[in-house]
Symmetry: C2
């Protein structure tokens, strides 16, 4: 089959590689943190007290998935959640002190690992790849 020439397959392979690099680096740093959990913590750090639906929107995930992600972050003690007073449907999410500390520790690691995600490319090629990916991603969001 022509599977290896299909963008869909290539993208899946890239995603697979990307998550593997992430997990390896986290494990090497002695941390149990997934890409989704990292992204969610970032959204919470950017907007303390953010509700779960807004987290989902910010990092482009499903509302149902985020509930479980936050559950797991709470069980790690990195995040706290309480019912909002303004809207009793919503839950306000915050980083705990420990969570803020972990995130500060992890952010440079995640930033550093991004180059390894695009192994085998030169700086120029990486920039080119990102520009193209951004373009597709924007078109996706628009339509």
């Amino acid at each position: 089959m022509t599977l290896n020439t299909m963008p869909g397959h290539l993208i899946r392979r890239l995603h697979q590689h990307s998550t593997q690099v992430f997990q390896q680096r986290m494990k090497a740093a002695g941390l149990d943190l997934t890409p989704v959990q990292f992204a969610a913590m970032g959204a919470v750090k950017d907007t303390p007290g953010i509700d779960q639906a807004s987290i989902a929107a910010a990092i482009a995930y499903d509302r149902a998935t985020i509930g479980g992600v936050i559950d797991r972050l709470i069980s790690k003690g990195w995040v706290a959640r309480n019912v909002s007073k303004r809207d009793r449907r919503a839950r306000e999410v915050f980083l705990t002190d420990k969570g803020a500390q972990v995130f500060a520790e992890v952010l440079p690691l995640v930033a550093a690992l991004q180059d390894d995600v695009l192994t085998g490319l030169s700086d120029a090629e990486r920039a080119q790849f990102c520009a193209l990916a951004q373009k597709v991603s924007d078109a996706f969001e628009a339509g």
Copy 2:
């Protein structure tokens, strides 16, 4: 956060878009078929009687995952599985007539949908993206 500039996040978004396009097209065609199931059927079509470990290797999936994928293809009646006579550990997998028919119907749809996966790019840009993705994918496989 700088999430939107991170290759890892961009790749995840691309993957998300890619699978959504796939599911939409399948649904529009009245078919219940996932990307993994399609890839697995392709591997079986290429090598009738292939064992599950070889399918996993061919399409870069986990051996444990493939078992479930084949289970679901069997329950749809598109694939058959039997214990190999040469190696009683292994299971030989084949397309059923119905499965071969479905695959023949679906292949052109999947080929056609690839351009939509890279929405917003010109032909030249799509080619460029694929070349870069291929390069990363190859480097990944090598190391």
